[in-house]
């Protein structure tokens, strides 16, 4: 169960919305922030808050790539594989991250910190090649730059923007 305080604030928001179902994504994000991902338990709890069946919410959860139905690392790296980023690195940024962190797409690195996901064009083509980490944009990327970013995330506090 989520803490009573979070539950109440979500209930208030849902009640205030003219159409409660419009809040479905916000509620899933809130649960995801709390649990780290949208677990089965969270899905049932969120659906109940929204007055939906778990299946109705599952339909949405599995539609969106920023809702994580499986456990993810503390930092979720969305690597842009849009064509503009691609023309600068031909998928090597993604491969570099996977090799460096010793993970496949969607897995969690051994230290529990990182998950790497391929992502549709993130709209930072002027900063290509680019990636998002917990919603924050990094680019233009180089292997050396990536090493620095990963190191700093291990040691410095990073504000969670949205996804987790």
């Amino acid at each position: 169960m989520v803490p009573a305080e979070l539950r109440e604030s979500l209930e208030t928001e849902i009640a205030a919305a003219p159409h409660p179902r419009e809040q479905a994504i916000n509620v899933m994000y809130a649960f995801q922030r709390h649990y780290g991902y949208l677990s089965d338990e969270a899905l049932v709890e969120a659906a109940e808050l929204l007055g939906l069946t778990p299946l109705e919410l599952e339909e949405l959860a599995t539609f969106y790539d920023f809702i994580y139905r499986q456990p993810v690392g503390k930092f979720v790296i969305h690597v842009c594989d849009g064509v503009v980023c691609w023309m600068f690195h031909e998928n090597s940024i993604f491969d570099y991250l996977c090799k460096k962190l010793r993970v496949c797409a969607g897995e969690i690195s051994a230290d529990g910190l990182f998950t790497v996901l391929p992502t549709a064009c993130i709209g930072f083509c002027d900063r290509a090649p680019a990636m998002l980490i917990n919603g924050k944009m990094y680019g233009p990327l180089t292997p050396e730059g990536i090493d620095e970013i990963l190191e700093s995330l291990k040691t410095e506090y990073c504000e969670m923007v949205i996804c987790k």
């Binding site: 539609f63 594989d81 002027d126």
Partner: protein
């Protein structure tokens, strides 16, 4: 050439500040919210709609539908409430103009939204924004509150009988949600599937009249009201065009970025002017004029005027005017493969041509790129790309565009893949196309 573009006075970007968005005060000092004050006092919603129709403004989200005509799609006797959906999904690859616009002048976008709301007599706007623009969603929420405090949003705006408010609706991804009918489903908390034959202007959000307009389109509305329809038309470089356009240039150029220029500015001037020309060692091989669902165009179109009609005349589309520049070192078969992988993954899977056809095309391209292509793949690609037109929505025909462009203009490059049994441009390292590394 540089002179010509720098002489031009920016309309949408005129309040640009270094490294931060313009404030409400800065926006107001440049005449901001005057159009709203004037409209609420002196113009009926019908007059605002007529002015926008007369201005020749065409939607900036990709389809280029005349905005005034879209607004006129709400029947006079249609009931209330009515809704406006400012669309900042912007998931078309290569496109980032709305992000830049919102960051430069959030109140210009907000005033455009409020005016459009007034014109169609909407009661609320659902500002639809993608997850990778979370910082911009927060910015709009903050500035909307500033506008609310100043009396521009909320109940009885500026003492009039017009009440209108804005909600930021956060998306959680997926390209198809940029399509108007899919977007309406997504906002209502359903899967973002498109709805064929549903007229949003009559039967949109919660079955109410709804107008979905791109953020750049809406930002054009306050200047049109302030300066008039003739002035707006006069901004264009082309006969029959109207306004300025935010061109996003990316790829192998020196200064990738978003530039506001008169609509119809020739590609040459955009690339050699603000975009700073090709990168050293790069030559222009092809460009996509407006995102991933427009076809590759070869260098012979270097002087084409970047406006809806001139591109239609040569069989192409302006799309979102996101110009992606490919150089001679980039393999266009591989680039098409990347684009089709994107579309195959983003397909909602609802209808067969899109769900089954795109992976089929992907497989053919993958084998071509890997040197396993055969001559008969070419008619197969042609046929499969043709089938995309039989899909439920515009997603699959858009996805077919890069394939058709490749087949039309770059057949030699395809044949080189066949004859050499490998990619002729492949670097020393084999190009990886899978997401799983060989660990």
């Amino acid at each position: 050439m540089r002179g010509e573009t720098s002489m031009f006075e920016e309309v949408l970007f005129k309040n640009r500040q270094p490294e931060r968005p313009a404030t409400l005060d800065e926006y107001r000092r440049s005449g901001g919210y005057q159009a709203l004050m004037d409209a609420l006092k002196n113009r009926t919603p019908e007059e605002v709609r007529q002015l926008v129709l007369d201005s020749g403004l065409r939607g900036r989200g990709g389809a280029g539908y005349p905005t005034g005509r879209k607004w006129a799609g709400i029947p006079a006797q249609a009931g209330f409430p009515r809704y406006l959906v400012p669309n900042t999904d912007e998931m078309e690859p290569g496109t980032f103009k709305d992000r830049i616009l919102v960051n430069i002048d959030p109140h210009l976008v907000l005033e455009g939204i409020i005016l459009a709301g007034y014109a169609v007599r909407a009661e609320a706007a659902y500002f639809f924004i993608r997850p990778s623009y979370e910082m911009d969603a927060q910015l709009i929420e903050r500035e909307a509150e500033v506008a609310r405090q100043a009396g521009f949003l909320g109940k009885n705006i500026l003492g009039s009988d017009f009440s209108f408010d804005l909600v930021v609706h956060r998306s959680a991804g997926r390209y198809i949600c940029g399509e108007a009918t899919a977007q309406v489903n997504a906002i209502m908390g359903y899967r973002g599937h498109p709805m064929k034959d549903r007229r949003m202007a009559q039967d949109g959000l919660w079955h109410r009249p709804t107008i979905v307009d791109n953020a750049e389109t809406l930002a054009c509305v306050p200047p049109i009201l302030r300066h008039g329809a003739a002035w707006f038309k006069g901004l264009a470089r082309t006969e029959g065009g109207a306004g300025t356009k935010l061109y996003c240039v990316s790829g192998k150029v020196n200064r990738p970025g978003c530039y506001e220029l008169p609509i119809g500015t020739p590609l040459r001037e955009i690339l050699e002017g603000p975009a700073g020309g090709m990168l050293p060692g790069s030559e222009l091989k092809a460009f996509m004029p407006g995102g991933a669902s427009t076809a590759f165009m070869p260098a012979q179109y270097y002087d084409v005027e970047m406006d809806f009609e001139p591109l239609e005349k040569v069989g192409h589309r302006l799309g979102t005017a996101a110009i992606m520049v490919f150089d001679q070192k980039t393999c266009l078969v591989a680039a098409t493969l990347n684009l089709i992988e994107y579309f195959a993954r983003e397909s909602c899977g609802y209808c067969t041509p899109c769900r089954e056809g795109l992976p089929y095309i992907r497989d053919l391209l993958w084998r071509l790129e890997a040197g396993e292509g055969r001559e008969e793949f070419i008619p197969m690609l042609q046929q499969m790309a043709g089938h995309m037109g039989k899909s439920y929505c515009a997603f699959a025909p858009g996805a077919a565009e890069p394939v058709l462009g490749l087949l039309k203009y770059f057949m030699d490059e395809i044949r080189e893949h066949l004859s050499q049994k490998k990619c002729p441009l492949e670097a020393d390292q084999p190009r990886r196309t899978l997401w799983y590394p060989a660990v």
